[in-house]
């Protein structure tokens, strides 16, 4: 164990800090004043698209986990926006780099990084949630094109996206997992209808997307026909890593502590109530444990050793902790905690209630808590899979 920073890393941290100080006027409260210019500035300095090759519009640095972590920490500390982090950047670009054709890479990566092309993800369907490979949206060959029909659900950013990367059943005769292709679909193609899906938060963070005879060139398949399941799995790992990030959880704990110190009931600080103090300490212990679990994972990545259970539990525990932090904040606020929209007594713009509801969606999405437990038990503990039911 040695958690001290090397001089090289300390110097790098200083560079990031200096950058954020020099450009302090370009952002406020976590948002850039001009997002596209900010993104260009970040890429030029290696704080976004850091390891994407220069020929595709990235910064072209060698992967360095420690430097990436330092950038993340300093941006959080300065409440500086991280630049564009949508599903195009975080999932499509790594996929194209890994399995895309040269033409696909050249055409899509740079405009995606610059924020000129926004992507949405078309994976889940009404009948294909946890059992994603059961998806039924299908493509029929028509000359050099596919004709797509079916529907997708839980499609965030679909209403503003120019493009979708989707899993489509292109090989009807193949086995379940082998009949799927990873297809790039322009959202302005005739036959596509986007309907916002209103959720319990009152917002529409997701959409439903309906396809009626949507014509897409077969050249838009990434990684080969029938290979879609395997192509998607290479990037699902990235998504699960993002859900449950301990740095975000720690930042939320900090906000909760401030809330409990500043709010009073009958003139007494909430934090001075022993029941609330104890609930906070219980969560603090768990947040710290997940933080150090994250450091252990980071070290395993650096030394290229398997992380085992320490990695498999992050999504389950991280999302659960985020939800519990929001729950405690609401309880600490009491009746104030149920206020939600503008008003003189509203706290934090209703953010704690929003998080409490939205985060329940994150416990369910990206692999439900129950699916996560199956993964922990089967991959982590070596317990056998549930036998398939006998054919009826």
């Amino acid at each position: 164990m040695d958690l001290n920073e090397t001089p090289e890393m300390a110097a790098f941290r200083g560079e990031v800090r200096a950058f954020l100080t020099v450009h302090r006027d370009d952002y406020a409260a976590g948002a850039a004043k001009d997002p596209k210019t900010w993104q260009q500035l970040l890429i030029a300095n290696g704080y976004a698209a850091r390891t994407i090759p220069r020929e595709y519009g990235g910064y072209g640095a060698r992967p360095d986990i420690l430097k990436s972590r330092i950038i993340a920490e300093e941006f959080i500390a300065a409440a500086a926006p991280r630049g564009i982090a949508n599903q195009g950047v975080s999932m499509l670009v790594p996929t194209l780099l890994e399995v895309g054709s040269e033409d696909q890479k050249t055409r899509w990566i740079e405009p995606t990084l610059r924020g000129e092309v926004v992507w949405c993800q078309g994976y889940s369907e009404p009948g294909a949630g946890s059992d994603l490979a059961n998806l039924q949206t299908k493509a029929v060959e028509d000359g050099k094109d596919f004709i797509i029909s079916g529907s997708k659900i839980w499609t965030s950013t679909a209403q503003m996206a120019q493009m979708m990367f989707a899993l489509i059943r292109t090989e009807p005769k193949a086995a379940k997992h082998e009949g799927i292709s990873y297809v790039l679909i322009p959202m302005d193609t005739p036959g596509i209808e986007v309907r916002p899906l209103k959720t319990m938060t009152g917002g529409s963070e997701f959409n439903e997307v309906f396809f009626t005879d949507v014509r897409v060139p077969q050249a838009n398949v990434v990684g080969g026909r029938g290979r879609g399941w395997f192509v998607a799995n290479t990037t699902l790992k990235h998504e699960r890593g993002m859900l449950g990030d301990p740095n975000a959880t720690e930042a939320r704990l900090g906000a909760l502590i401030e809330l409990m110190k500043s709010e009073t009931v009958d003139g007494q600080r909430i934090i001075d109530n022993p029941v609330f103090s104890d609930r906070l300490m219980q969560l603090q212990g768990r947040v710290l444990a997940m933080k150090f679990n994250g450091l252990r994972l980071l070290t395993a990545q650096l030394t290229k050793e398997p992380a085992g259970l320490a990695g498999l539990i992050v999504k389950l525990q991280g999302c659960e902790l985020n939800h519990q932090l929001a729950a405690l904040a609401i309880d600490a606020l009491g009746e104030l905690g149920v206020l939600y929209t503008d008003g003189p007594h509203l706290r934090a713009k209703g953010r704690w209630q929003w998080n409490y509801m939205f985060d329940l969606g994150l416990i369910i999405g990206g692999g439900t808590a129950q699916i996560q437990k199956n993964i922990i038990a089967e991959r982590g503990l070596g317990l056998p899979r549930e036998p398939k039911p006998a054919a009826a």
């Binding site: 603090q284 679990n293 199956n374 038990a377």
Partner: protein
């Protein structure tokens, strides 16, 4: 940036685990549990040969001179093996002497401890967990009076580290006049607790001020947390092994999601504890070198969280074993009870979290 054990640390722990497989098998622990005359001398001797008696004693005094992280790894192995050894005093004794003892006291006691000839025990429950049944020790004119409860290893210790009600610490020889000991029989038969009576007992004061008591408390918390980590890991492993083997409805029960999820929940709760215990031990070592101010907070959270998770794992693992889980036949209850004692030792989780909150000004 290196959040991992060194090769030496891994080898040390693996080697200790193998030593304990021989010296502290379940059958051996059963004999100890069933016979108060059994002092576990052979188990202790095997550990002395391993070097454990002097694990934190500096090399110039005949010990291994290792860190708290090493001691925590040893404690984890002892918890896993439900070893009938009062390890807390083995670590707290030398720390008390190194931080609060004179050169003479160190030269007199440390080599004896490192050689395994004298076992130390720490009577520090009252100022940390709170006084029960009127316990507490007062010091006047170099003499101690009163009583101290819940002293692990206190029945056999040749040297006692005793905290008085004002937080001062004293050294008492095991054969001092006016010192009485009586067993406090409890659920955990793998470690024996003593009630110590002091009737004008001669004592040597230790220096170090209130920081020494805090350091002993933090070290104790880390060691108990590590012991729980080891014991809970074994309970999880046994549950998983049983779930892979036991068949009902023509299937191994581990293929049922109801059972599978119990195992997954245990793993998901326990795995982060490992990182927290490592970090708490690391922070203790860093604090000893004047680097870190967070050692006490980390020790408290490690103790409190392993107590909660320990209880959850103990109960859940027993349930996975079904009816067999509650029998004496499997011996699973030894781990269950070890975790039960660890939860309360040096303060239950509510008490420890209250202290953690105060450290940060997050309590009235």
């Amino acid at each position: 940036m290196d959040f991992a054990l060194t090769q030496d640390q891994r080898l040390m722990q693996e080697s200790l685990v193998r030593t304990l497989e021989q010296a502290s098998s379940l059958e051996r622990v059963r004999r100890f549990a069933g016979d108060l005359k059994d002092k576990g001398g052979d188990v202790w001797q095997a550990l002395v040969e391993f070097g454990l008696a002097g694990i934190v004693v500096p090399e110039e005094h005949g010990g291994l001179g290792l860190s708290m992280l090493d001691a925590a790894l040893a404690s984890e192995a002892l918890g896993a093996a439900i070893a009938p050894v009062p390890f807390m005093g083995v670590v707290l004794g030398p720390i008390a002497l190194l931080r609060g003892g004179s050169a003479e006291q160190q030269a007199l006691w440390l080599p004896k401890m490192a050689a395994g000839d004298v076992m130390a025990a720490a009577a520090i429950s009252e100022p940390i967990a709170g006084a029960r049944d009127g316990a507490g020790v007062t010091a006047a004119d170099g003499k101690l009076s009163g009583k101290a409860l819940f002293v692990p290893g206190g029945m056999a210790a040749g040297l006692l580290i005793v905290a008085d009600t004002s937080g001062g610490l004293h050294l008492v020889k095991g054969d001092a006049a006016g010192l009485t000991r009586s067993l406090m029989p409890g659920i955990d038969e793998t470690r024996r607790l003593a009630e110590l009576g002091f009737d004008g007992v001669e004592a040597e004061p230790l220096g170090g001020g209130p920081e020494l008591l805090s350091a002993l408390r933090d070290a104790g918390w880390v060691l108990v947390a590590a012991d729980s980590l080891g014991a809970a890991q074994v309970m999880l492993d046994k549950a998983v092994a049983y779930a892979k083997e036991r068949r009902q409805f023509d299937r191994v029960i581990g293929s049922f999601q109801a059972v599978k999820h119990m195992c997954a929940e245990m793993a998901a709760e326990l795995e982060p504890c490992r990182s927290l215990v490592w970090y708490a031990a690391y922070a203790f070592d860093a604090a000893a070198q004047g680097v870190s101010g967070e050692a006490s907070l980390m020790a408290a959270h490690a103790k409190a969280l392993t107590s909660e998770v320990g209880r959850f794992v103990a109960r859940t693992s027993t349930e996975v074993h079904g009816g067999m889980g509650i029998t004496d036949l499997l011996g699973l209850h030894f781990w269950f009870k070890r975790l039960g004692l660890n939860r309360q030792l040096l303060g239950g989780p509510e008490r420890v979290r209250e202290i953690a909150a105060r450290m940060q000004g997050l309590a009235a």
